[in-house]
Amino acid sequence: MKILAVTACPTGVAHTYLAAESLEKSAKKKGVEIKVETQGSIGIENQITEEDVKEAVAVIIAADVNISNPERFKSMPKLKLDVQKAIKHADQIIDKIIEKFGE
């Protein structure tokens, strides 16, 4: 199972990357594949492609600002939350997606 995520925060130097790290760690722990695109002050890194969108079951939008190119995810289930919550509750978020979309 593959999950996508986009992280973004107002300053784009700290929480964007903390949230990405937290989600990646949880996914690894639970044995699911995740690709996290960071939209920070460096710009977009690890960009999600059309191919990724086709392969994934859902996308987590962990952002306190509007993200760039949200239309990419029009056709897929989205989980939107504050970036802070993604840092704190990454395990529960990944569990919820696994529960819903199963292996």
């Binding site: 107002p10 784009g12 929480h15 903390l18 937290s22 760690k25 960071t38 002050s41 802070q84 840092i87």
Partner: protein
């Protein structure tokens, strides 16, 4: 990389009453290091950011930061506190390790921004945190940080 982080920007056993006084002390260190043109303007953005949501990231670590016209060159200042202070962290734990980041309003080289993002990612790494807690002097801390940043591929 010397102006970004160096031993002058690291304090062990910092004493401070509360969150705000610690942010101020670290801001003054960055100012003395020559990275700011207006410490007041810079600190204002840091406090404004802090008001939006706490930068206590849990596990006893906080990462206050500000992106401001008052910053000429990016910097990272670090303090290990003598007594942990309240930071409204989401795990309710008081904070013992503080990184204050200064970022120029106009984005500087990606290399510096990359260093800041690498630092953020490492804050969730237990070993990194343990090393910072057990370091004996500012030189040790500087080594830990330099080592971490040396893994960045430009």
């Amino acid at each position: 990389m010397g102006s970004l982080i160096n031993e002058d920007l690291i304090v062990l056993d910092m004493e401070g009453e509360d969150r705000d006084s610690i942010i101020k002390s670290l801001g003054e260190l960055i100012d003395r290091n020559g990275n700011l043109n207006s410490v007041a303007e810079y600190l204002q953005t840091v406090f404004e950011r802090e008001e939006k949501s706490s930068t206590g990231v849990g596990y006893g670590i906080a990462i206050p930061h500000g992106k401001s016209e008052g910053v000429d060159k990016p910097a990272i200042a670090f303090a290990r506190l003598k007594e942990a202070v309240e930071w409204e962290s989401f795990d309710d734990k008081p904070v013992k390790l503080v990184f204050l980041l200064a970022v120029p309003a106009k984005s500087e080289s990606n290399e510096h921004l990359k260093i800041l993002s690498t630092l953020s990612r490492n804050l969730l790494n237990e070993e990194f945190k343990d090393n910072l807690i057990s370091a004996e002097n500012t030189e040790d801390i500087n080594d830990i940080l330099s080592k971490m940043f040396s893994t960045i591929n430009n």
